[in-house]
C-alpha cells in the first residue's frame, strides 16, 4: 500500500505548466467503519481502503449479530423454530415464518385450505410492503432527508397496525403455523385494510413527489452502486437487486407457490442496475403488493368463512371435547403439546420470494420431533457479498445509499 514518497518540489519541476491538472497521489488509508455506525443500521463493520476519497477495496465483516439460529432450531421441536424465524428479518417476519412453515409442510406432504393460502399471501405482501417502506424511507434519512423518511414510516405503521389486527403482534408476528395460520382475520379487518390501502397510496404519492424527481436524491442514487446482470448472477444475487439489473426473476412467478398463479401482478425490472433503479423497482413493487392485497381481500370475501388450518392429525390438536372423553385423543393431545409433530425422514428445500430476494429453507429430518438440520438461505448475506464490486472506484459517500439499497438486515445476514 505504502508508495515511495515523492517530493512535491521535484514533481512540480517536471511539469510546471499543468500543476493544477496533476494527479495528487496520497497514501492509501484504511478506514474502519462500524460495527456501530449511524449509517450501518444493523451491526456490520467495513474496512474501507481509501485513496483520498475513492474506495479501493472493502472488506465487509459480518457476524456481529450471530446468535446461533440454526443451532437453536436444531435443539427444539419443529414448532419452536417458528419464533426464531421472526427474528431473521424483523421488517418482514411473516415472510420468514412462511418459508420455514412451507418447507416443513413440504416434508410432511401437507396441503393447506384455500382460505389459509389467501390469508398467507395477503399477510406476506403486507410484510413485503413494510420492508420496502423501511428500505426506501431509511435510504432518504441517511441521505439527510428527514421528511420522506417520516412518510415511509407512517405508512409502515399502518402495515404494522394491520399486522397487529391479524396476529396481535406488530413486528415479531409468529402468524404462520405449520399447516395453517394462527387464526382467521377479524371481521373488521377487510374494511380497515381497504381504508389503510388508500392512505398508504396517498403517502406513497407524497413520498414520490418529494423524492423521485428530487435532484439531490437523483445525484446520490443514479450511477452509484452499479452491479451488472452478469455479476448479479455470478454472485447469486436475487430480489430487487437482480430485477433492477434487468432480470425479471421472481420466485412468485418462476415457481408459483400458494395462490400466486391466480393473482394478477407484474414484476418490475430496472435498466442498468444502479441504486436509483433499485429504488424505482422497490417503489413499483409496493404498488404491486397493494394490488395483490386488494385481490386477496376480494377473494377472501367471496370465499366466505372457512377453515384456516389443515385437519391433518399430525399437526393439528384434537378437539377439546374428544380430549376430555377419549383415551387416544388425550394421548395425542399430550404428545402434540410436549413434542409437536414428528416429521418423516427426508430432506426438502423450499424458497419464497422475500423482500430481499430468494429466502430458502433446507430442512433435514431424521424422522423425529427435532429437526436434524435447519438451513436458512439468507438473501441479505448473499446480496451483501458483492458490495466491494458495487463500490470499487466510487466515492466513500456512495457507500451509504448503496448499503441502504442492498438492505442488509443483520438478523437475517448473521443468523
Amino acid at each position: 500500500m505504502a508508495s515511495e514518497p515523492i517530493l512535491l518540489t521535484e514533481r512540480s519541476r517536471e511539469t510546471p505548466e499543468d500543476d493544477f491538472e496533476r494527479d495528487l497521489h496520497t497514501e492509501h488509508q484504511v478506514l474502519n467503519m462500524g460495527p456501530s455506525h449511524p449509517a450501518t443500521h444493523g451491526t456490520v463493520k467495513f474496512m474501507v481502503e481509501l485513496d483520498g476519497e475513492t474506495i479501493v477495496s472493502i472488506d465487509v465483516m459480518v457476524g456481529y449479530l450471530h446468535r446461533g439460529f440454526e443451532k437453536e432450531c436444531e435443539s427444539g421441536t419443529w414448532y419452536q423454530a417458528i419464533p426464531y424465524t421472526d427474528r431473521l428479518n424483523y421488517n418482514s417476519a411473516i415472510l420468514a415464518n412462511l418459508g420455514y412453515c412451507m418447507a416443513v409442510e413440504k416434508l410432511l406432504g401437507l396441503e393447506t385450505p384455500e382460505r389459509c393460502q389467501w390469508l398467507r399471501v395477503m399477510s406476506s405482501e403486507l410484510a413485503r410492503l413494510s420492508d420496502h417502506l423501511t428500505r426506501c424511507g431509511a435510504a432518504c434519512l441517511e441521505l439527510q432527508a428527514m421528511t420522506p423518511f417520516l412518510y415511509g414510516i407512517e405508512a409502515r405503521e399502518l402495515t404494522w397496525d394491520l399486522c397487529e389486527m391479524l396476529c396481535g403482534a406488530r413486528v415479531t408476528s409468529n402468524y404462520i403455523r405449520i399447516g395453517g395460520v394462527k387464526h382467521d382475520a377479524p371481521t373488521t379487518f377487510p374494511s380497515t385494510c381497504r381504508e389503510y390501502i388508500g392512505r398508504i397510496r396517498e403517502l406513497l404519492r407524497d413520498f414520490d413527489k418529494v423524492v423521485t424527481g428530487n435532484r439531490i436524491f437523483i445525484d446520490r442514487m443514479k450511477g452509484t452502486g452499479f452491479l451488472s446482470k452478469e455479476d448479479c448472477i455470478r454472485y447469486a444475487v436475487t430480489g430487487p437487486l437482480l430485477r433492477a439489473a434487468g432480470v425479471p426473476c421472481d420466485v412468485r412467478k418462476a415457481e408459483p407457490y400458494l395462490v400466486y398463479d391466480q393473482i394478477d401482478f407484474d414484476v418490475p425490472i430496472g435498466e442498468v442496475g444502479d441504486n436509483y433503479d433499485r429504488y424505482l423497482v422497490c417503489v413499483e413493487e409496493m404498488h404491486q403488493s397493494l394490488r395483490i392485497i386488494e385481490q386477496c381481500l376480494d377473494r377472501l370475501a367471496r370465499l366466505g368463512p372457512g377453515p384456516v388450518n389443515t385437519l391433518d392429525p399430525r399437526v393439528r390438536w384434537p378437539a377439546k371435547e374428544r380430549v376430555f372423553n377419549r383415551m387416544e385423543e388425550l394421548i395425542q393431545q399430550f404428545k402434540s403439546v410436549t413434542e409437536g409433530p414428528r416429521v418423516p425422514k427426508g430432506e426438502a428445500y423450499f424458497a419464497v420470494e422475500s423482500a430481499n430476494g430468494e429466502l430458502g429453507f433446507y430442512l433435514v429430518s431424521g424422522g423425529g420431533a427435532v429437526p436434524h438440520k435447519v438451513r436458512c438461505r439468507p438473501p441479505s448475506f448473499i446480496n451483501l457479498a458483492p458490495l466491494y464490486l458495487m463500490l470499487r472506484g466510487s466515492m466513500l459517500a456512495d457507500l451509504i445509499p448503496t448499503f441502504d439499497m442492498v438492505n442488509m438486515i443483520g438478523g437475517e445476514c448473521d443468523r
Binding site: H66, K71, D231, I233, A348, G360, F381, A385
Partner: protein, 162 residues
C-alpha cells in the same frame, strides 16, 4: 440411475456416469450424490452445458451426520435462470479428511458461503482464495454447528486486538 426428468442430471449421467453415486427426487427435489473427487468437474459441466445451464449457485451448506461414515455432507443448491430448474448436489466428506474442492472459480457466490461452512462445520475448501471465519471471530475455538459441539459451551471473551 434415474434422472427424474431433470435435464441437468440427465446430461451429467450421460457425460460422467462414474461421478454420480446415487440420485433421488424426494418431494420433487432432484438430488445427486457425487463422488467427492469429481465434484469440481461435474459442477463445471452442469454450469457450462447448454441443456443444464446452472448459472446460479444459490446455496452451499453442510450437514453433520454424527455416527455415520463419512460423517459430513456438503450440500449445493443450483438454479438455472435460463431454464428455471433446480438441482441439489451433495458430496460426503469424512471427518478424518474434511476437504472439498472450492467452487469459487466457477461461481463467485461460493466465496462467502464456503467460508461460512468452514466457520461453522470445519470443512476446508481446497483452493479457496480467502478461507477465513466469517460469522464468528478468529479466536473462536471449534466449529459450533457440529453435532458434538455442546450448545451451552461458553467461549472466552476477546477484546479488541490493538
Amino acid at each position: 440411475m434415474e434422472d427424474f426428468g431433470s435435464a441437468g442430471l440427465r446430461r451429467l449421467l450421460a457425460a460422467m456416469p462414474d461421478a454420480v453415486v446415487s440420485s433421488h427426487a424426494q418431494h420433487g427435489d432432484v438430488t445427486a450424490l457425487l463422488k467427492r473427487e469429481r465434484l469440481a468437474d461435474a459442477m463445471r459441466l452442469l454450469r457450462d452445458d447448454a441443456e443444464s445451464a446452472f448459472d446460479m449457485l444459490s446455496d452451499v451448506c453442510a450437514v453433520d451426520y454424527l455416527g455415520e461414515e463419512p460423517r459430513f455432507e456438503v450440500v449445493y443448491h443450483l438454479y438455472s435462470l435460463a431454464r428455471n430448474q433446480r438441482l441439489r448436489v451433495k458430496v460426503r466428506v469424512p471427518e478424518a479428511d474434511p476437504v472439498v474442492d472450492s467452487l469459487v472459480g466457477l461461481w463467485a457466490s461460493a466465496n462467502w458461503m464456503e467460508r461460512e461452512v468452514w466457520d461453522l462445520y470445519g470443512i476446508r475448501f481446497r483452493h479457496h482464495p480467502d478461507l477465513r471465519r466469517i460469522l464468528l471471530y478468529d479466536e473462536f475455538q471449534g466449529h459450533p454447528l457440529r453435532k458434538d459441539y455442546p450448545k451451552e459451551r461458553r467461549q472466552p471473551l476477546v477484546g479488541p486486538r490493538n
